[in-house]
Symmetry: C2
Subunit: 308 residues, 2 copies
């Protein structure tokens, strides 16, 4: 370890892979935030512990958060704008997008019904090939979803804040145009950050604009959807199916009508399990340690105004 090593305090679980990757990138892990140049919030790191460390120690100039969403850490972020803040946005894109595809195919191929069946049934299902897919969001996860959808000759429309084009998408439109795109959507995948502009974006009106054969997949944040409106849409047979890895409320309480809705498939926020993301957070944090030491741009820099 050289003397010019970046001193890093870990808040949360300092698992072996994380420490090893940080040190390989030129960090020295220290126990006390008072001695740290930067803080890595690992899994299980409490927002209050981060806030206390930052309030007490003005030496910290960089904070790495463990998730793509920043909601939990919003008050620390607002109180310490002098720090560079990086999140895990995009770092977990591979497993999360894979889960989105798994859920999409499961709905199209009617796998929830098959999993519950106790007898052979008539062959049924829809192929993803040739379908029109709408992806809400344009971050790392959304980009990876677009790439995977491209493996199936789909026509992808990306809905994002600004209508900048995205590789692999047939077109990009702004969030304001969502209502115009929904009637021509076979598969709607939600991969956007939760912001004031996206909260309950999928309300009763938006859900009603989807065709009856459409399926809806959410691997982002539960509150992108008005849950009561979704329950009503599924009950009425308006949607072919909905697969949710995130819910509002979350965890979805026992007895909630979605648990008994045959067209719904719920996974318990398992798109990116701890086992999958531990090496990915370590890689992101180490990349940023190397960037800080070399003066390269940080990866996953938080845009506090945008909310992600």
């Amino acid at each position: 370890m050289s003397d010019d090593a970046l001193r890093i305090a870990i808040i949360g679980e300092a698992y072996d892979g994380l420490v090893a990757e940080l040190e390989a990138a030129g960090a020295r892990c220290v126990a006390d935030p008072a001695e740290a140049d930067g803080v890595v919030v690992a899994f299980g790191g409490r927002p209050e512990a981060l806030r206390a460390a930052l309030d007490a120690h003005s030496n910290v100039r960089w904070v790495q958060l463990p998730s793509a969403g920043i909601e939990l850490f919003a008050d620390s972020l607002a109180a310490h704008p002098q720090c560079d803040w990086t999140s895990a946005k995009g770092a977990y894109a591979l497993p999360v997008a894979e889960h989105a595809l798994a859920l999409t195919l499961a709905l199209l191929r009617e796998l929830p019904r098959r999993a519950r069946a106790r007898a052979w049934g008539p062959a049924a299902g829809t192929s993803l090939h040739g379908l029109r897919v709408t992806v809400l969001g344009a971050g790392g996860v959304a980009q990876e979803i677009v790439r995977l959808m491209g493996c199936f000759h789909t026509e992808v429309t990306v809905v994002r804040r600004q209508a900048e084009p995205m590789r692999g998408a047939a077109r990009t439109v702004t969030t304001a145009e969502l209502g115009r795109i929904l009637p021509d959507t076979d598969v709607l995948v939600l991969a956007a950050a939760l912001t004031s502009g996206t909260r309950q974006l999928l309300d009763a009106t938006a859900l009603a604009a989807l065709p009856e054969r459409a399926v809806l997949v959410n691997i982002a944040r539960g509150a992108l959807i008005d849950t009561d409106a979704l329950v009503a849409a599924l009950r009425s047979g308006h949607l072919a199916g909905a697969a949710l890895d995130v819910t509002d409320p979350e965890p979805l309480p026992a007895g909630h009508p979605l648990w008994s809705e045959p067209r719904a498939l719920i996974t318990p926020h398992s798109a990116d399990t701890l086992e999958m993301i531990q090496p990915l957070l370590a890689a992101r944090a180490a990349e940023n340690v190397a960037a800080l030491r070399s003066g390269a741009p940080l990866v996953g820099l938080v845009d506090a105004a945008a909310g992600y």
Copy 2:
């Protein structure tokens, strides 16, 4: 329609798309096989009807079968070797391979358990990224499965009759080497024809050679697996899961132990539904009409000795 049109009799359902595509390729559809140069066996075409037509009318020089497997038509094929026989092998590769991927991801992401759950549970699951995938077979479906697996940075081993390399596969081995590959397999996908060399290839010994975390997917023919041995392997917890679109016996009778096995997922031979394959059979048959008229090689030519 020109006078040199190829006269085609359709046995089975002469659906609109089929007739239109055949005629666009230069065929004239005739009702009576006595007047036909070729026969297209469409969906619902009975093997006995084909046999009777061929026995009675020596003018038929080409037969298009509606499936990849030729078992149902084996006696007609043996009795009329003077005809050119083409099957649908490879024609349904896109939807069938897509179903294989859907089943693979469903097992890895524990979707059957989630579909049956009535409450939130701990996050669990495995990502396909980086896994070792073994594909049995090397036809059109297997090639498409290898392509899709390549979208997930998997390491693919193909097991086939001859060890010729396949694009996208890290290695190819012969069927005799299957036992050596199984212990290093995370995902085993069966996509081979059913022949005397592959019947019950996945017996108790082969299943025991798979690691405990492995998942097994069969979208080819049920009898590739010794079903009783599979039931025993799943019950003992030796396999993480099995997803079967084809079974032995098929349909799988109500009350069969696989229906109540939590690690099993059964789909009712729905990898390629009639709706998905009607346009694909029409395209294959039309391609062969065009080939016969121009002298180009037929597509999907049956190798009677090989059994597919």
